[in-house]
Symmetry: C2
Subunit: 228 residues, 2 copies
Amino acid sequence: TIVLRNVSKIYQTGENRVMALSGVDLTVSKGEILSVMGASGSGKSTMLNILGCLDAVTSGEYVLDGHRVSDLAPNELADIRNRKIGFVFQGFNLLPRTSALENVELPLLYDRSHRIKDPRKEAAAALERVDLGSRLDHIPSQLSGGQQQRVAIARALVTRPAIILADEPTGNLDSRTSLEIMGLFQDLNREGVTILMVTHEPDIASFTERIIEMRDGMVIGDHRVLDR
Amino acid sequence: TIVLRNVSKIYQTGENRVMALSGVDLTVSKGEILSVMGASGSGKSTMLNILGCLDAVTSGEYVLDGHRVSDLAPNELADIRNRKIGFVFQGFNLLPRTSALENVELPLLYDRSHRIKDPRKEAAAALERVDLGSRLDHIPSQLSGGQQQRVAIARALVTRPAIILADEPTGNLDSRTSLEIMGLFQDLNREGVTILMVTHEPDIASFTERIIEMRDGMVIGDHRVLDR
Ligand SMILES: Nc1ncnc2c1ncn2[C@@H]1O[C@H](COP(=O)(O)OP(=O)(O)OP(=O)(O)O)[C@@H](O)[C@H]1O
Ligand SMILES: Nc1ncnc2c1ncn2[C@@H]1O[C@H](COP(=O)(O)OP(=O)(O)OP(=O)(O)O)[C@@H](O)[C@H]1O
Ligand SMILES: [Mg+2]
Ligand SMILES: [Mg+2]
């Protein structure tokens, strides 16, 4: 379970002060699949980064599975990131001089529990799942934009996380490939994985069960998707 | 006028051989506004990179305004890139430690003709045009994904190019911001700028007059958009 209570995030840049999140309250139960939508700059990525323990709140609190995240030690936070949360970044964040296979394998190499016994095999299987089984040895500059995005998706899946946070995972994908990715996310959700996805495409959001709307750093809407 | 005649592009990577383009023929007249659509990996970015003189054909020819591009010297190619063509990259390609303003100003600083007298003022005006006038001093990591994309668009406009090549320019933008960008492209087109845009969103493509469809490195469709 994910709980954000009155979370604000302020970025101070020289004299500029940007309130990226303002008084956000959000509860997400285990096994939900939901979308976050809103205008450019409305705080979607900021919120996802906080949920993924990649950034910290300025004020308010974030409780993940009963633990206040701000009370956790850095190594506990790193463990949570590695084991519980798979993240698909808006900008992909692939290592540029590293093959697709090694990019996907990387989170497993950081997993101190070593619960995945054969990281390379798992990484190859994750790339197969996103239809890139024939491109394992290509580095990002040798892949199209959409292919890079799918490598990023494979990397988010490979640790078998409990929660997937996906920031515009279909932004660079054609309709058919987008539908395949949504099918994959739905399959994972049926297996119990909680999925939060940022998208600006209503068609894509309609694959989820609940839509959170944001504007100017605030949650302004939260409703169930009624016909899917 | 843009003419591609029987253009192929092969990437050779170790033992892998990828035919990114295969026998592409395309003619684009001055003042057209068109979209390029197709599945992930179908060759759209490869074709746009060739048209933008950022990559070379493997075979076939590219004739731009009567000049065979392969006959041009490197400094002539660089001049064409700088003065005639504005490019919006799929991955934005902003300099990460450089402000929005300086990123947009950069192509003007490379323009040896110095036809723009006040580069900084023009760069600020271009950022205003994409509604980022209040963020001139922010570096890319201080901007949202969609804001970075708009900085990339402003950089493509600032040299007042004759041709704009935009690779998924709305992939990270919400619907309303996307419409504003399309309105901007239509305004530019009315002023005579030729616009080629890659998109996978049919709604966005409907703002253009002609749609090129690609599959597996080939042009498989080329039709006019009839009701706009
Ligand atoms: N530098 C490269 N080296 C090897 N292969 C490449 C290179 N650049 C592109 N490719 C391959 O060429 C094919 C076409 O790539 P391209 O980037 O043109 O596709 P695209 O249509 O833009 O796809 P997307 O919609 O995913 O952005 C893909 O299979 C891609 O992996
Ligand atoms: N590191 C930072 N420093 C300063 N401002 C920032 C930083 N990160 C984000 N911002 C600002 O905070 C606001 C929210 O950013 P965020 O990335 O969450 O928006 P978003 O909803 O994801 O937008 P998009 O749809 O364009 O990706 C924006 O105005 C952005 O410029
Ligand atoms: Mg974002
Ligand atoms: Mg592409």
